[in-house]
C-alpha cells in the first residue's frame, strides 16, 4: 500500500509526542512529589499516584498508534 509509510510515520508521531508530553508532565509532578516525600514519607502512595497520572496520555497515543497499525 502506498500509504504504508505515512501510516507508520503517523503512528510513530502519535507515540513519540504523547510520550514526551507524559514525560514532561511527570517530571514536574515527580519532582514536587519527591519534595513532599522528603517532608513526610507517608505521602509516598499519593505521590506515586499523582506522578503516574499523566502516563495515560502516552497510553492514548499508543492506542491511536495501534489502531493505525491495524488499519495498515
Amino acid at each position: 500500500m502506498a500509504d504504508a509509510g505515512l501510516i507508520a510515520l503517523s503512528a510513530g508521531i502519535a507515540v513519540g509526542i504523547t510520550g514526551m508530553a507524559s514525560a514532561w508532565a511527570e517530571k514536574e509532578i515527580g519532582s514536587a512529589a519527591i519534595g513532599a516525600m522528603a517532608e513526610n514519607e507517608k505521602l509516598f502512595g499519593k505521590g506515586l499516584i499523582l506522578t503516574v497520572i499523566p502516563e495515560t496520555i502516552v497510553i492514548f497515543g499508543m492506542v491511536v498508534a495501534i489502531l493505525l497499525w491495524l488499519n495498515m
Binding site: F44, G45, K46, L48, I49, V52, I53, E55, T56, I59, F60, M62, V63, I66, W69, L70
Partner: protein, 685 residues
C-alpha cells in the same frame, strides 16, 4: 467483614490512686485506643507522669549514650532477657558500665587526639628532612630572616638575583626550600619566591636534627597506635559482653517510660482520673470485666456510644460539619494471613476510614492478576515465584515483604497466563508459529498446541502478544470496564452506609448505569469500526444503552452538579487506561523478540522454517547464551518495575477513585512490643 471492626467509645473513671494499675491493665488487654485528653474540659487538668518516669528516663538517657559509645548494633543482638533479671541488675550494671566505658572512651579519645597532633607535626617536619640543617639553626638571628616552605621548581637563581644577600637551601626532592636573607631584602626575596608557588611552612620550635625528630615521633606514634588498638579492642570486648543486656535494658526502660507517661494523655482532678478511649465493641465486655475484677471497684468503665457508620453529608462545599463519631473512630481491620500481606500496599496510600470498605481484599485478587497479565510468560513467572517465596521467607521489613508478596502471587498468575493464554517462555512460543521461531523450531522437537487434561483440550497459547494485538486490546478494555464496574458497586455500598441510599443512587449508582451503557456502546463501536458492519440506530443495544446513559448523567448531575459532566471523558480515559495491560505485555514481548532474534537468528544462524537448524558453532553458542541471559535479565528487572508499578497504579487511580476516600486513623491500642525482653512473671506471657 469487609468493613473495619465496630468501635465503642468508652469512658474509664476511677480514683487517682488506681491510675497506675489501670494503665498496667489496659496495656495487658491491648484493646484500648486512648484518645488524647483535651485540656478544655472544666475541672480537669492533664495528668502528671508516674513517679518512676523520671528515674527511668535518666537511666535510659545514660544507657543510650553508652550504647552510642559502644556502637551496639541491633542486628547482632539475639535472644531475650527476663525483665525481673534486668530490674535486678540494672543499677549495678549501668554504674559499672559507665565507669568502664567512660574510662576507655576517654583514653581512646585522648590517644586519638595525640596521634592526630603527632601526625601533623611529622608532616611539617618531613619538609625539613631534605635540608642538612638542625632545627635550632632556623631561628635566633638578628639581621637575618628565614623563609621556609614548599615550592614548585628551583628558585635559587631568581632569589639570588632579587636579593643578593641571601642563601638558598633546596631539599633533595626539590619541593621544599629554606631561604636565609638579610632583613632589608626579605620582601624582594619573598616576591621572587612567590613566582615559584611558595607556601610558607612555619619552623617548628624544636631542636635537633629533623631526622632524629621524625624518628622520635614515629616511635611515639607506633606506641600510641598500639594503645589505641588496645582501647578499641577493650571497647569491643565490653560491647560483646554487654550488648544483649544493654539492648534489653533499653527496651525495658523505654516501655517503663512509655507507661509512666501515659497519664499525660489522661484528664485528672485532685482525687480522680478520667480517660477516653476507643475499644472494639466486641471487646467491651472483656475490658469491663477485667477492670471490675482486677481493680477492686476503684475504677469504672462506662460505654458511651458505639460509633455509627453513618455521617452527615457535606451538602455545600466548604461547609465544615463538626466531626461526628463515625469520622473520629479508629480503623481496625481483621484480615486473614494472606490478605494481610497486601495490607501494606493499601496503607501506602492511606488508611481506610472507619465507615468504608477496606479494599485490601479486592487488591489481593486483582493486583496479581494484572501483574501476571502484563508479564504473561512462564520464563519470568517461575523466577518471580521463587524470588517472592524467598523474600517472604527471609525479609522482615514491610517494604520488602510487600514486593515479595507481589512477585510471588504475580508470578503464579504470570505462569498461568504464560502457559495457557500466551503459551510462551522468554518471549518464544512453545508450538510452531507461521511467522516466528518457536521452541519447537529451535530445539527441533514438536511441542503441542494443546494438551488434553481429563478429556478437555486445554490450549497452550491462544494469543501471541505481538500478532494478536486486536483481541488482547479488546480483552483489556473489558477488564477495565469490569474493574471500574466493581469499583462503582463498592462505591454504592460505601455511600449507602455513610450517607444513605439517596446519595448512593445519585452519586454512584448513576455512574454504574453509565458504565453499563458504555459497555453496550463498546460492542457497537467494535462492530462498526473493526468488523466493518453497518449499525442501525434502532439496534437493540443502542435502544438500551442510550436511556441508561441519559438517566445516569441526569442522576449524576443532580448528585454532583456540573462536575459530573466533566467526569464523563475521565471515565472513558479510565477504561482506556486499562489497555496498558496489553501495552506493557507487548513492549516486553517486543524487547524479548529483539534479543531472541539477535541471539538465535542472527548469530546462531537459526532458520525457523527448518526445525533445529543452526550454524553449530560452539563458541558462537556461548555468545548467544550470554546475550540471551543479559537481555532477558534486563526484561526481567524492567518487568518488576513496570508491571508492578502499573498494576498498583491501576488500583490507586482508576479503581480506588470510584469508591475510596481513606484518611482514617489507625487503631493503635496501648500495648508493648518486646523484641529483646520477656516478662516471665507477668500475665501477658
Amino acid at each position: 467483614m469487609l468493613l473495619p471492626i465496630q468501635m465503642t467509645r468508652v469512658l474509664i473513671v476511677g480514683s487517682r490512686g488506681a491510675l497506675k494499675d489501670t494503665i498496667e491493665l489496659l496495656y495487658r488487654l491491648e484493646a484500648a485506643h486512648l484518645i488524647d485528653f483535651s485540656a478544655e474540659e472544666e475541672g480537669f487538668s492533664l495528668g502528671a507522669p508516674l513517679p518512676e518516669s523520671s528515674e527511668a528516663s535518666q537511666r535510659l538517657l545514660k544507657l543510650r549514650s553508652l550504647e552510642k559509645d559502644m556502637g551496639v548494633d541491633a542486628a547482632e543482638v539475639r535472644g531475650r532477657m527476663d525483665v525481673a533479671q534486668i530490674e535486678k541488675d540494672l543499677a549495678a550494671t549501668i554504674a559499672e558500665l559507665e565507669v568502664e566505658i567512660t574510662s576507655v572512651t576517654e583514653s581512646r579519645n585522648k590517644l586519638a587526639g595525640r596521634i592526630n597532633e603527632l601526625e601533623a607535626e611529622r608532616a611539617v617536619l618531613k619538609g625539613f628532612l631534605g635540608i642538612p640543617l638542625d632545627m635550632e639553626m632556623y631561628s635566633g638571628y638578628e639581621s637575618l630572616r628565614v623563609l621556609t616552605g614548599k615550592v614548585r621548581g628551583d628558585p635559587s637563581v631568581a632569589v639570588r638575583a632579587a636579593a643578593p644577600q641571601s642563601e638558598v637551601f633546596l631539599s633533595d626532592s626539590g619541593d621544599f626550600v629554606a631561604v636565609f636573607v638579610a632583613k632589608a631584602q626579605a620582601d624582594e626575596a619573598q616576591r621572587a619566591l612567590a613566582q615559584f608557588g611558595f607556601t610558607e611552612v612555619p619552623v617548628p620550635a624544636k631542636s635537633g636534627s629533623p631526622q632524629q625528630l621524625v624518628a622520635r615521633a614515629d616511635e611515639e606514634l607506633t606506641a600510641l597506635r598500639a594503645s589505641l588498638e588496645e582501647a578499641v579492642r577493650k571497647l569491643e570486648e565490653l560491647r560483646e559482653r554487654h550488648a544483649a543486656f544493654v539492648k534489653a535494658a533499653d527496651e525495658h526502660l523505654s516501655i517503663v517510660v512509655e507507661k509512666a507517661e501515659t497519664p499525660l494523655r489522661v484528664g485528672t482532678t485532685e482525687y480522680a482520673f478520667a480517660m477516653d478511649a476507643w475499644v472494639p465493641t466486641s471487646d467491651v465486655p472483656k475490658v469491663e470485666k477485667a477492670i471490675a475484677e482486677g481493680l477492686g471497684g476503684k475504677v469504672h468503665l462506662e460505654a458511651l456510644a458505639t460509633a455509627p457508620r453513618k455521617e452527615a453529608h457535606a451538602s455545600h462545599e466548604g461547609e465544615e460539619n463538626p466531626k461526628s463519631l463515625a469520622e473520629e473512630a479508629p480503623t481496625k481491620t481483621e484480615n486473614g494471613r494472606i490478605v494481610k500481606q497486601f495490607e501494606y500496599m493499601e496503607r501506602m496510600l492511606s488508611t481506610p476510614k472507619y465507615n468504608e470498605i477496606d479494599p485490601t481484599v479486592t487488591m489481593m485478587i486483582t493486583i496479581p492478576i494484572f501483574f501476571g497479565l502484563m508479564v504473561g510468560d512462564i520464563g519470568y513467572g517461575i523466577p518471580f515465584m521463587i524470588l517472592g517465596w524467598l523474600g517472604l521467607r527471609n525479609c522482615r521489613s514491610d517494604e520488602w515483604r510487600t514486593i515479595s508478596t507481589l512477585l510471588f502471587y504475580g508470578g503464579i498468575w504470570a505462569t498461568i497466563f504464560g502457559v495457557f493464554l500466551f503459551g510462551e517462555m522468554y518471549g518464544i512460543h512453545f508450538a510452531e508459529q507461521p511467522h516466528d521461531m518457536s521452541w519447537s523450531s529451535l530445539l527441533g522437537v514438536q511441542l503441542p498446541h494443546e494438551i488434553a487434561i481429563g478429556g478437555f483440550e486445554i490450549p497452550l497459547g491462544i494469543y501471541s502478544k505481538l500478532h494478536n494485538v486486536k483481541p488482547i486490546l479488546y480483552m483489556t478494555i473489558w477488564i477495565g470496564l469490569i474493574h471500574v464496574f466493581i469499583g462503582y458497586v463498592i462505591g454504592v455500598y460505601n455511600k449507602a452506609i455513610r450517607f444513605g441510599l439517596k446519595h448512593a443512587i445519585l452519586e454512584r449508582f448513576s455512574w454504574l448505569l453509565i458504565v453499563i451503557g458504555g459497555a453496550l456502546l463498546l460492542l457497537i463501536v467494535v462492530d462498526a469500526m473493526i468488523l466493518g458492519k453497518t449499525v442501525e440506530l434502532t439496534d437493540l443495544r443502542i435502544l438500551i444503552a442510550a436511556p441508561l446513559i441519559v438517566v445516569g448523567i441526569l442522576l449524576a448531575y443532580k448528585g454532583e452538579g456540573a462536575a459530573a459532566i466533566l467526569d464523563l471523558p475521565g471515565l472513558m480515559g479510565n477504561v482506556i487506561s486499562y489497555t496498558r495491560l496489553a501495552a506493557i505485555g507487548m513492549s516486553k514481548a517486543g524487547l524479548a523478540l529483539a534479543f531472541n532474534t539477535i541471539a538465535f537468528e542472527v548469530l546462531w544462524g537459526h532458520d525457523f522454517l527448518v526445525p533445529g537448524s543452526n550454524s553449530g558453532d560452539t563458541i558462537i553458542l556461548i555468545a548467544v547464551l550470554a546475550i540471551f541471559l543479559v537481555g532477558h535479565l534486563t526484561i526481567f528487572i524492567l518487568a518488576i518495575i513496570s508491571a508492578g508499578l502499573h498494576s498498583l497504579r491501576l488500583h490507586y487511580v482508576e479503581f480506588f477513585m470510584k469508591f475510596y476516600e481513606g484518611g482514617g486513623v489507625d487503631f493503635k491500642p496501648l500495648k508493648v512490643i518486646r523484641k529483646y525482653t520477656i516478662e516471665k512473671n507477668g500475665v501477658s506471657e
